[in-house]
Amino acid sequence: MFRSKIWFNIDYVSLLLALGLASFGVVVLAGATQGTINSGLWLTQAQWIVIGLIMCVCTFLIDYRFFIKYAVVFYIIGIIGLLLCFAPYIGLYKKGAYSWIRIGPKQFQPAEFAKLATILMLAKILGSRKEKWTGMLDILRPLFIGALPAMIILKQPDLGTAIVFGPVTLLMMFAAGMPFSYILLLFAPFTCFIGINHDIIAILIWLGIMGGLLLYSIFRKIPWTVWLPFLAISIVAYIAVFEYAETVWNQLRDHQKDRIVGYFNPEIEKKGLNWNIYNSKVALGSGGFWGIGLGKGTQSKLGFLPEYEHDFVFPTVGEQLGFVGGVSLLGLFLFLLMRALETSILSKTLQGSLIATGVAALFFSHISINIGMVTGLLPVTGLPLTFISYGGSFMLINMIAVGFLISIRMHTTKEIIEDNIMNNHPQLILPKNTENGDIWESS
């Protein structure tokens, strides 16, 4: 393994980007906690970065196909881990959710691991299917894989983390070449929210959408096994919403109601409803263009910014480093995401491509939901910011995810060599003796 020219193939750009982002997070965290009781937090975070880096290296040294091969195992481990959260002695109840397990003195969030395991599993399933998307099963299988951990996490309850599985699964399905018509059908059930409005116009609009979808499906000659279930689900969901929306609303928890009401009434700023978002915007806004300087942020230190080391870390960036700092951070994120998607395009295999897409989708959903939340674009859901938020498991998983990216890029180079061999010396790649089938053995 070490004999190969592997070290020259490492994607240093991704690695440095990850390290840069993590260091950015440490600096911001050190600044935000300076002079408070949390002032040692950045050291812990730095330790996690070092551990994460080691994990990252370990990850990219392994061929990503190994992970694809054992994706099922990882996936099952992930699900078991999630279930263990509810187990006595091992599971840990913290901040109102069963999202931690305790092994000795260490605590982990299995949900983080489950994200990666799900990406691998999806890549395996979506990447090894037949060329054409036919029938319901092609859609239902990845959906089920994505929904299973999400449902368990929703039970913990940790809405934010559960939501991430949605965009990741959908974006991966999208990238895997799911037909456009299927995507349309997939979104059909969401039209049920029109049912909240009991106006005759709203009902007509919904009926129009449904009719349009039906006609579209028939004209595009989509098999009825695909469109019928979706439309049936849509109709059932619509009727359910139409009838029971009020009941469901009454059963929501108070803070959830507040968040929804607050999101749709952003002008209610100060008290109660949008307190978090209001203070987050205040922290961002007080930074101005250049920021008020590292370590000088007031809103986080004086306790007005809730959870400033986890979910509301971006406002501390904006407060300390201003618009410049925020946009720089966004630039770094964009660079990383583009790199991941470039990896996805470069990859010779669909699985590699899908893993890279999944990682990009994971990062993208974390970043967009988190920053969208703190700037008031999206409703409040507790979700950390990739590489910047404080948290051990989260940092490890991010690093490993970057490890996947590097691994894919690295081994893509090998794939190119492999392709060459296959094209020029097919006898080497298709040996009669299957026991010595590995090209690396023979080369």
């Binding site: 108070d254 230190k301 295999t349 669909l350 008031g376 674009l377 089938g437 590995d438």
Partner: protein
């Protein structure tokens, strides 16, 4: 290392297209985020910067130290001392104040330290008004705790939970050194209310600042108050101060007010009056008030605690009898009638009238207080013996018919129709019958009976003791009417004289010197004639007193009011004393001995301590 070969699936162009679309999505969303950041951080930066200051910065008013009130010898009567108010951070649940476990712990500790009942504290926590300066996030649960409790509180501050932190704030509080001494004159302070805040006098006042509510405290508010300062502090989420206070505006202490009142005379007067409801006023002849006692009084320091007791007291301690009281002057009025007689009817003081013990006319009979009658008497004797018949005939019949205008004219001359203009806020307009409003009906409304009644100072003539006192002062200095003056001067906080209040002349009684002489002689007779009603005061060596007693019938309200006005020494008057005892009895028997006691103190015949 053996591995199974994983079959390769060639990617289609579709996948690549999809990923490129994903890239576009990412770029698009990031553009939205950047735009959003621009909106928040640059476009609306000013607003949010202000909001961030609103979050952390508090502009806290610093109450200025209120000026002292001193007596003429510099004794401090009222002064600001530092007490502490205890505030607690409010916890809200569902938009309402809630007693969370943290709050409960705080309140329990407070009740242990302050010795207040927990229920009381909890009630205050839930119901008291919130503070505007701390964004209505705090409420005051204990007012004016003593310094020793404050020390304990500061020591144990760390034990209180942060979510329900307590804050002990020093508040200058008015302290009156002699509790109830001159309570009505000094007056009370209290927080400014909404109506006062809107008025022009209090434009620069911070809400909740302490202002004078009555007495000198209210009258000289502009001098005493000084100007409040402002401090800027940085607080955290739990309203705990996280920075040293920065002075934005310095508090300027108020000026001191020095009164004409003399602690010695004032407390002597109050002691002399004792438990009876009454008034004793002593002043110089130019009406600088040396003592103005009005009993019963209330305790200025503890009046809030005893408020219920005071309210249910039938004698009403809050009633400032000297200034706001309305009493019929009785025979005291006769000395002013004497002016009218001498000036309007142009009679000689020696003009004699026969007193048979009653006065009968118009089919009615009015009695003199001496049933047997006084026989023939002139003006001096009539004043000296306080004969009613003389005045029934001369004033009730001859002067007041028709219409009583001539008596009224002389009442106005002595300032009986208007307020005296004393520097106290709660003076009441006196009523003279016939009054301004009834003047046009006088010819038919002013019946002879009313005139006869007015002749002995009853029947609709109602003056405050200070009014009578002011008029007597005018007699002593041959007609100059001075405004009663309680404050003497204003000193700055450092002690320099800022303003001196000179005696103010309100007018002059236009009567001939002979008339003054005659009336003064009549008043001399009252005291120095062995038969005079005020004869108890005649024995002072080198100090001749002149005066007039009065006994005003109170009808079915009990005993008559006992009056006595006097001044001395006769030749060169220094002091004027007015005594009025509500439902006291006969003036000569009740009021004169009290005046005598006061004169004893004034002339240093009796040491102040012996009075007790």
């Amino acid at each position: 290392m053996k591995r199974k070969h994983i079959p390769l699936f060639n990617k289609t162009n579709k996948v690549e297209r999809r990923i490129k679309f994903f890239m576009l999505l990412v770029v698009g969303f990031f553009a939205v985020l950047v735009f959003r950041l621009w909106t928040i951080q640059i476009y609306r930066q000013e607003d949010y910067l202000q909001s961030s200051l609103d979050n952390i910065q508090r502009l806290v008013p610093v109450q200025s130290i209120r000026g002292e009130i001193r007596d003429s010898n510099g004794k401090i009567l009222a002064k600001d001392v530092n007490y502490c108010d205890v505030w607690i951070k409010l916890n809200y649940q569902n938009g309402r104040r809630a007693v969370t476990p943290a709050v409960q712990k705080s309140l329990e500790m407070l009740s242990e330290i302050l010795g207040k009942s927990y229920k009381r504290l909890e009630y205050d926590y839930l119901h008291k008004k919130r503070d505007p300066f701390y964004k209505r996030l705090q409420v005051c649960v204990a007012n004016r705790i003593p310094p020793d409790q404050y020390v304990i509180l500061e020591e144990r501050k760390m034990e209180f939970p942060e979510e329900a932190m307590i804050f002990a704030r020093k508040v200058p509080t008015r302290y009156y050194h002699y509790n109830s001494l001159a309570a009505h004159i000094l007056g009370l302070t209290g927080p400014i209310d909404a109506k006062e805040k809107d008025s022009e006098d209090y434009v620069e006042y911070a809400p909740y600042s302490l202002i004078g509510k009555s007495g000198i405290e209210k009258q000289y508010e502009s001098y005493l108050h000084g100007s409040d300062g402002v401090n800027r502090i940085i607080v955290d989420k739990n309203e705990i101060q996280r920075s040293p206070s920065i002075e934005v505006k310095t508090a300027v202490p108020g000026n001191n007010v020095v009164l004409n009142l003399d602690y010695k005379y004032q407390s002597a007067a109050e002691k002399i009056l004792g438990a009876s409801a009454g008034v004793m006023i002593a002043s110089t002849t130019d009406n600088r008030i040396l003592a103005m006692a009005s009993n019963p009084r209330f305790d200025l320091n503890e009046y809030r605690k005893k408020y219920g007791v005071y309210l249910t007291d039938p004698l009403n301690p809050f009633y400032h009898r000297a200034v706001a009281g309305n009493y019929e002057p009785g025979s005291v009025f006769k000395i002013f009638e004497a002016f009218a007689l001498l000036e309007e009817l142009k009679i000689s003081p020696e003009h004699q009238v026969y007193c048979p013990g009653h006065f009968s006319k118009w089919g009615t009979r009015w009695n003199c207080h001496k049933k047997a009658g006084h026989g023939y008497l002139n003006l001096y004797e009539a004043v000296c013996l306080s004969c009613n018949v003389y005045f029934y005939e001369m004033v009730g019949d001859k002067l007041n018919i028709p219409g009583g205008r001539r008596l009224r004219k002389w009442a106005i001359e002595f300032g009986f129709e208007d307020k005296t203009g004393v520097d106290l806020p709660d003076e009441r307009t006196p009523s003279v019958f016939p009054s301004k409003d009834t003047e046009r009906f006088l010819d038919f409304a002013y019946t002879p009976g009313v005139g006869v009644n007015n002749a002995i100072g009853q029947g609709g003539v109602l003056f405050s003791p200070l009014q009578v006192h002011t008029a007597v002062c005018a007699i002593t200095n041959n007609g100059v009417l001075y405004q009663p003056q309680i404050a003497q001067k204003i000193l700055s906080h450092g002690g320099e004289v800022k303003e001196i209040f000179e005696p103010i002349k309100m007018g002059a009684v236009e009567a001939s010197p002979k008339t003054f002489e005659a009336v003064q002689k009549a008043m001399w007779e009252v005291v120095n004639n062995p038969r005079g009603t005020g004869r108890r005061l005649k024995d002072y060596p080198n100090f001749t007193v002149a005066g007039k007693t009065g006994t005003a019938q109170a009808g079915n309200r009990g005993e008559p009011h006992a009056w006595f006005v006097c001044y001395g020494p006769f030749d060169n008057p220094e002091i004027v004393i007015t005594v009025m005892i509500e439902n006291g009895g006969h003036g000569g028997e009740v009021a004169v001995p009290l005046a005598q006691k006061f004169l004893d103190v004034f002339l240093d015949n009796v040491s102040f301590e012996d009075l007790v």
